[in-house]
Symmetry: C2
Subunit: 354 residues, 2 copies
């Protein structure tokens, strides 16, 4: 029996999350494994109900669960708050830190039937299938920071800080993932300028010997931002610092034109967290228009990374593939000639293919 | 009389820089203004000849000049050096710091006849005409940094540090540039996470009242990396921190498919520096294949920003436009049906159109 904390959050969250839960229920019935789901508040919904984006009872529930499934948080209702108190920041950052989720895995791959939707030309985006491994509990986000008066004005700083141990654990994970894929790892840094990047590079180099099957390449972050647009198919696994990973993974997520299709996993602690890459899309919330596939694919990542149910994960991914191949589309990926379906209908189609 | 320091550098530098110099000579003859050019060593060439990427006599020459024209630095010959000693880093960073060049201006615009070469679909890239104003002497590049033993391993850090005054001067410049263009300024930060970004945002907001004609928008850096790919034409002027600007400007430079066409200016001190965005392209060096247009357009930026010769700058840009419209192309922007020309030939064509 696995306990799953379910945090629908805001906007389209409460519409897409139930579709993924129902997919997991089908998987449970097929495999004879029981999943026990418990819901809790997070984000704007939690601010409204409890005055806090991450109430202690939600954090407790996550800690006592085997995995967390999150929808999305945030919306215009809370945009008047200072940036650091908005649902995204005030819920996600402490959740990651408290659960020790030091690795954020963000695949970006081209679903062939959706190539039309990419901003890139077909020949450029063809074959894109990469995964970004972003360090998630260190670096510029969590190093010492301060703002203070200085003379007539102020000064403020943040610190990009890493220890050998922090770099080693994320790099080892990235090597392992590369080893299970096409065996090509790109470590992204700014070692020509940053001291922390030099420690990063040396530490990554130090692990190379343990993974002789993996080809390791170092790339500067500015060059990586160029290469992702010019030739995204050159990448297999990318590993990088927290802030660099934030930027590059968002960039990567739009290349294939199907951000509504992209899942993510935040792992490394006792409990891992799974959520779609897209946001809470308040403009279409409550209209059954949202695409539940990224959340369903996040549930597939849960099966793989938290429960080692690789076969079940692959079955869910294959079901999604078949639904797309049959021409079913939610509004975000619709093109003329395909069949437009709503959120619940798309979920049902995937379950039928399972 | 204006004194111009000419630093050809490495790779294709010595081929492209003379073409821009000759364009400036034509402008000089037409306008009756004398330009005096003095060459100096920089980058790998300087390492080889003097043992230093930025010899003191080169720096002195720059200081005594009215503007600096730089080709490109670096190449495989020096890649065995540690990253921080390679020509790019060891020449460019101290040059910027010593000359007080706190603002790097990098336009990215679509040359209509070249849309074919963009990795983006035509309808996505259409209308792209933006300029990134990158802070260049502060932020993560220049804040306190250290690497030291800690327990069994090491720790290392860099500091993203800004004062109100540093932010104010770059923001004011960006407002002014926006005001002379389409009056839309996007300030890019990560204010939901970074303390330095909050000071950045507050300081930019503080200047808003002085530029009522400019619409100011704040955008998170991860979102900006997405938007640059999805809808680059939405941007006019982007202002941002040093590292963010490094990443975003390189990303932006490949969107239009014509990095060989993009100039840059680094300004803010007594003397400004102009250089093409592309690198030293060692693979085609010495073959008369390089595109001199980015360097020629950098010279046009020099006319505009250093010498206030706006009309002459516009004339150079127009001449480049006419040469392209007539179908002349260097190898990097060649497509079937156009006329392939070499470096010197392209330079001569521009001068003929002047
Ligand atoms: C909301 C924000 C704090 C978060 C981040 O920057 O990590 C988001 O952008 C993400 O990538 O998950
Ligand atoms: C070579 C390097 C130090 C430099 C930078 O990062 O500033 C380069 O990438 C640039 O953008 O001009």
């Amino acid at each position: 029996m696995y306990k799953i904390a379910v945090l629908p959050g805001d906007g389209i969250g409460p519409e897409i999350v139930p579709e993924a839960v129902k997919v997991l229920e089908v998987v449970g019935r097929r495999t004879g494994i029981e999943f026990q789901f418990t819901e809790a508040l997070v984000g704007g919904a939690a601010i409204d109900a409890r005055g806090q984006a991450l109430p202690p009872e939600t954090l407790d529930l996550c800690r006592q669960s085997d995995a967390v499934l999150l929808g999305a948080v945030g919306g215009p209702k809370w945009d008047a708050l200072p940036p650091e108190e908005r649902p995204e920041t005030a819920a996600l950052l402490p959740l990651r830190k408290e659960l020790g989720l030091y690795a954020n895995l963000r695949p970006a791959y081209l679903f062939e039937p959706l190539a039309e939707a990419s901003p890139l030309k077909r020949e450029i985006v063809a074959g894109t299938d990469l995964i970004i491994v972003r360090e998630l509990t260190g670096g510029l986000y969590f190093g010492p920071k301060k703002r203070e008066k200085a003379g007539a004005g102020e000064v403020a700083y943040d610190t990009m800080l890493y220890s050998t141990a922090e770099i080693e654990r994320i790099a080892r994970l990235a090597f392992e993932i590369a080893s299970s894929r096409r065996c090509h790892l790109t470590s992204v840094d700014k070692a020509n300028v940053l001291t922390s990047s030099r420690l990063w590079r040396d530490t990554v180099d130090g692990l190379k010997g343990e993974f002789p099957e993996v080809t390791l390449e170092h790339m500067y972050v500015d060059n990586c931002a160029m290469q992702l647009v010019r030739r995204p198919a050159q990448f297999d696994v990318i590993v990088t610092e927290n802030t660099f990973g934030d930027i590059l993974s968002d960039q990567a997520s739009v290349l294939t034109g199907s951000i509504g299709m992209l899942p993510s996993a935040s792992i490394g602690g006792q409990v891992a967290l799974y959520e779609p890459v897209h946001g809470s899309a308040p403009d279409i919330a409550g209209q059954q228009k949202a695409n539940p596939l990224a959340t369903i694919l996040s549930a597939a990542m849960m099966l793989k990374y938290s429960f080692k149910m690789d076969q079940a994960a692959a079955a869910v991914e294959a079901a999604v593939g078949r639904v797309l191949a049959k021409g079913y589309r939610t509004a975000d990926i619709y093109v003329p000639g395909t069949s437009l379906v709503g959120t619940a209908e798309m979920g049902a189609l995937v379950r039928r293919e399972l």
